[in-house]
């Protein structure tokens, strides 16, 4: 069902200067009304609870001028370049070059990642950032199973991350169990919650599913906040044990790893260990995903993503297919959560808000759903990019939201790449999923 509106198609093509100015003027006028009160009048509650306000007309004028200028620029660009498309934006020659590089990019990136602690050994900040990026790479790859492969929009992924983190934190602080015992348990518990969530939502269509998973994520967060006896409520769980090197603690003591190896102790050892730990977990996620994709279950996921109704007609059990996708994705979320808890040493409900879910989802979508390399690059770009805005704390989420909207408009299927189904009966180009009409599965 493609309705091509003739108005929008022709209007953007041949507009003269007067029409251009008129559009810009109208846009500026709309901006004036929109910003007049929200930006122009700043309210603040005084100490006595009385509201005061002051005006900021200069800011409104600047914003309106920016909209006026911006719409002229955008309109001109649209006339010169035409509708944005990959062919026009990136010449074919460059594209072939890029896909050539793409083949070697993944191994090169992996080798570089393995060497990061060697290269940046003295730079604690970079190592910490690298661990953070790898955590998000792992979360992205985990969510990719649900969203990218099975096509189920999950807005509550952070719930499983929270389940994993709290499982480890509570088991370790209450029973003193080691990280290596708790890690699989955290994954199993998260997978269990994934199945629990999966059951009610099996019959739901895409959008409903999204809202229910969102509600589920909020329920988990609210329970964590309010169940004070178990979770410590808003205060969180602190003094979570650090991971050991398979039973050998990474500390200053005589029984520590440094003493046993006969080398001088340095706090960086633990950072490096954490780095390789999350790298191993992320690579495990990646390896399992790639293996599963070739198995019947992975193909069923991809078939489900492309067309649920056809899937059912072919006798694929959509119930188990969805449940396994949820459980697998949740399990990796749980692993990542356990790692998060041991890295931080402290967790609280604040780390598991909807924003976090949206960030991971944005990484998956930006990377191109289903593409493993794309997700890794997107995590690098998003978390690294977020770091750049560190000084502009209040504007970070504003920019993030705008980026999400713009990326969707520009490349709905992801910026970096998108993976076509693994198997085709005919040539892959014949029915790229871009061209297939979406079933309302």
């Amino acid at each position: 069902m493609t309705v091509i509106s003739p108005k929008t198609a022709s209007a953007s093509r041949s507009a003269g200067i007067p029409a251009l100015l008129k559009t810009a003027f109208v846009n500026a006028l709309i901006a004036l009304v929109l910003f007049s009160l929200m930006v122009g009048i700043r309210t603040e509650a005084g100490s006595d609870g009385q509201l005061t306000y002051w005006t900021r007309f200069g800011d409104v004028a600047a914003l309106v001028a920016a909209v006026f200028g911006g719409s002229i620029v955008i309109e001109l660009l649209r006339q010169w370049i035409g509708p944005a498309g990959t062919e026009k934006l990136i010449p074919p020659a460059v594209q072939t070059g890029m896909s050539f590089i793409g083949r070697y990019l993944a191994p090169a990136l992996l080798i570089f990642t393995l060497l990061v602690p060697v290269i940046f050994y003295d730079q604690r900040y970079i190592l910490d950032l690298a661990i953070l990026v790898l955590t998000y790479v792992m979360l992205g790859w985990g969510l990719n199973v649900v969203v990218g492969l099975a096509g189920l929009l999950d807005l509550g992924y952070v719930a499983f991350y929270a389940v994993g983190a709290y499982s480890y934190a509570l088991l370790a602080t209450n029973f003193g169990w080691s990280f290596w015992v708790c890690l699989p348990l955290a994954g199993i518990l998260a997978a269990f919650w994934g199945v629990l969530l999966g059951f009610p939502v099996l019959r739901l269509r895409g959008d409903y599913l999204a809202i229910v998973t969102l509600a589920f994520g909020e329920i988990i967060r609210l329970v964590i906040i309010n169940w004070q006896e178990l979770t410590g409520g808003p205060n969180g769980v602190s003094s979570i044990p650090r991971p050991s090197f398979f039973g050998i603690p990474l500390d200053n003591s005589d029984s520590g790893l440094a003493a046993r190896l006969g080398i001088e102790y340095s706090p960086t050892h633990r950072i490096v260990f954490l780095f390789y730990l999350i790298l191993a977990l992320a690579l495990l996620t990646n390896w399992v995903t790639i293996r599963l994709r070739r198995l019947p279950i992975g193909r069923a996921w991809e078939a489900l993503r492309e067309d649920e109704v056809a899937c059912r007609a072919l006798g694929i059990n959509t119930t188990t297919t969805k449940l396994t996708a949820f459980a697998t994705g949740a399990m990796f979320g749980g692993f990542a959560g356990a790692f998060f808890a041991t890295r931080q040493g402290f967790i609280s409900p604040e780390s598991f808000t909807f924003q976090e879910s949206a960030l991971v989802l944005a990484i998956v979508v930006l990377g191109g759903m289903g593409s493993q390399l794309g997700v890794a690059l997107a995590a690098l770009a998003m978390i690294g990019g977020f770091e750049l805005f560190r000084s502009l704390e209040t504007y970070r989420m504003l920019v993030f939201g705008m980026a999400m909207v713009l990326i969707m408009i520009w490349r709905p299927r992801g910026l970096i790449g998108h993976r076509a189904p693994t198997v085709y009966l005919t040539k892959a180009q014949a029915i790229s999923s871009d061209l297939v009409k979406e079933g309302h599965g």
Binding site: L37, M38, L51, P200, I211, V365
Partner: protein, 305 residues
Amino acid sequence: MDYFAQQLINGLVLGSIYGLIAIGYTMVYGIVGMINFAHGDVFMIGGFIALITFLLLISTGLTAIPVILLIVLLVSMAITALYGWTIERIAYRPLRHSFRLAPMLSAIGMSFVLTNYSQVAQGARVKPIPPVITGGYTLHESADGFVIQLSNIQIIVVVTTIVLLAIFTWLVSRTRLGRDMRACEQDQTMAALLGVDVDRTISMTFVIGAALAAVAGLMYLLYYGLVDFFMGFVAGIKAFTAAVLGGIGSLPGAMLGGLAIGLIETFWSAYFSVEYKDVAAFSILIVVLIFMPTGLLGRPEVEKV
């Protein structure tokens, strides 16, 4: 019994506010088939604009409260409606024929933009106003001194809701615009071929939804006496729950669902625990979708291949 009656009144008032927001979800879902994730934030923007307009009018020395409230209502409806229109133009129209996750994600992005825009523009702190409408009626006083109160503001919220619901039901069922909307809901291609301006109709849907959300924002401001930049998120999910509960796409259903959610939330707070009231509301969403995927007044959906 008296306590129950008082909670019933409180629940109905809260439910009216949810119902007003839910109408925006239900209309947009009916026509475009997408969840306008940013709708809760439109409600929040409406509340802010009402607050600012109110503050400006008070500072001009105007004292007639009914006049002030009428102006506040009209201004916040108008500006919020323009917000709704702009959001549709920027974030949803370019994606109307894109694959189905795209508008959803763009709406989530838009929700972040609106939340953080008002945080940047108005600050993160809660904005209180002094009580504007005071007084009320004592309906019943029991022997042990428990009083059932019906305050004037509660009456205003419920009456405004009923009047607006009547106006918009008339708009959708009797006018040219309403006919166009129902035609687009059935089949956009066919409606376009028969001379319905689909783009304009969809824009108008967003405008009406946003205007009603603005009314809800004003009612929230008057009832609770405060607004803050984060109130759209939870209110949005609850209103969406109301829309689903009532049967998405149905206007009376949205109102009914709103009342149901308001009552459930109020009774849960009153008899069980205040802390878990949101958990109760969200759990209902999940339970409803398991047992009644089409809601109370919804039509069964035909699966299109």
